[in-house]
Symmetry: C2
Subunit: 361 residues, 2 copies
Amino acid sequence: MEVKTRFQLPTILQKQHIARIEGDALLIHDRRRYPLEDSFVTCLSVDEVAQAIQAMVTQGGGPLQVAMTTVRFIARQIHERRAANTVSTFVSGAQKLIASRPTNTTMARTLRAIVAEIGQWYRCDSVRDLHGDDLVFYIDEIVNRYEKSFDTDYDAMSDHGAALLGPSEGILTTCFAEHSFILTLMKAREQGKRLVVYIPETRPYLQGARLTAPALQELGFESYVITDGMGAHFLREGAITTYLTAADLVTMDGTVVNKVGTLANAIACAHYGVPYHAFSMAPDETKATQDEIIMEERDGVEVLRFGSVTTTLDSLKGKYPAFDCIDANLITSIITPRGVFTPQSIETGYAPNSDTKGAGT
Amino acid sequence: MEVKTRFQLPTILQKQHIARIEGDALLIHDRRRYPLEDSFVTCLSVDEVAQAIQAMVTQGGGPLQVAMTTVRFIARQIHERRAANTVSTFVSGAQKLIASRPTNTTMARTLRAIVAEIGQWYRCDSVRDLHGDDLVFYIDEIVNRYEKSFDTDYDAMSDHGAALLGPSEGILTTCFAEHSFILTLMKAREQGKRLVVYIPETRPYLQGARLTAPALQELGFESYVITDGMGAHFLREGAITTYLTAADLVTMDGTVVNKVGTLANAIACAHYGVPYHAFSMAPDETKATQDEIIMEERDGVEVLRFGSVTTTLDSLKGKYPAFDCIDANLITSIITPRGVFTPQSIETGYAPNSDTKGAGT
């Protein structure tokens, strides 16, 4: 895995620090408490894993990595006869994980693909024979392949991302844009580009302040935590020259779905003529337009708290739409492993049987 | 004071609940702790009052009310021979208060005007004779007149504000826009208009969550606390139809200065065609353009905290520009006691010797 050897990712993105199996348990790094605590939530069943994802123990690309680790975990449970040795065990596990975060379609797509492959194990004697009837070995091989494929994708996306940056950039982001974003910054720096990063804290969970900012500090980048309302301020001052975020979902009409707050910054960037690029593993080919997006509305009480600390009267009402839809006209480009696409060209680039490279690469 | 008899203001805006004199002390309502605590900071000197304003014990229109109470306080200190009976005592007190919050020009203007009047006391025997040589009585009369004048202004501004609202409105605000805003909502409701209010929490001090939201709840308005990044989300959904804020300062070229975060929402409103109206007692006639604005940059460490609770690593860097400049092209109107002006017409409306009424009234 070339990416890992060339660049040491920050602690929070190292696979074993996102999720790992220890004995009977699957441990999930608790991003809700990081960096003030660096602890793991212990899950003894797939139900507990799904509950942890639902409770936002991990977020962003975390659920994907947790889901892949959960597939390994199920194989071990079957091996130790703590779960029924049928494909249904995997299917029902995948269903629980998918239901725990309906907006995360990369996790859903990956789980469906992996479970489809696992079906071979139960249908084909030859597949079992080929792996010495060792289910754990068979499953690990599959998951290793998917993990490596994601690493290759992150590597490609960050190549494209770094190429889009000029010699001196003020970067705005939102939430925690993870591998592609971090690797983009690392590669751009290696290319001699000067970067200053502005990180909105991303209320209510503060992923910007707690995940992005410590990761960039660990890597030695000049970076500043700002509140979620300050992006426009620094855009107006000319301090911010590029906006980079992840995308939880991209529909085929070029709409980006990402953490609430992304839209406000995208509009401000458009107003000041600053480009907005979103990283996406791939658009969701099952969603032709934004009308098909299932949006997650979380409990408004979370806006009235920081962690366990109440910020105001409990009797008030809050609203917490978890995600924004950013319309295509606000997006400069969508950076995918296949290349850099305008929102308008993403449908062509990802049409069935297309091997089109992105317009910008 | 007609305003007070017709509408019962929320607790936090009642004069005695902003600042009052008790014995040797001037008490300032601690807006940093409200509503979780309803406590007052005790000041025994003008220096302590200035320190409290600097430390953000009060904010928005609070410093103005505190400053007027401080003038009464100085008169009592002189009466009790705890301060020198000269105009310099008032001058130096005013200077300390003005320096404590350089962006608050209404406080500065009011203090300068009041102290100029006080000069009469020391220059004219007849003024002293007319008031039975009772300095406290003389000062109270002056301050009462200024307070009543502000109440009349709030009444006029909220008449204009309520008239701008349609029969059913989703109102976005930022920070705590105080009397004019609250009275606008109360009058609009009395006129049978249906209102829902969206209140960004306003990090880092959370004035929205802690001041605006409890005040509107106390008055029985349907209102929701949102994070500072969510305004655009609800604009895109069509839930927000009007944006109303205070203005800490308006320059003669129609630039509004207000709490950081105001700009992002103003840009989003412009993007979705939603009007933005800012309340201002008056533009600052000494500032022809935005180039003359002195901006307050506060300690970035405040962004890394909620009150005394640290939100992330202490070693990170934050940035906290306290205010936004909102350019005239983003502003629908500026609501003043004289009427409703476009940003382009404010200079004409407030030209020396002008008694022009606002364009919109």
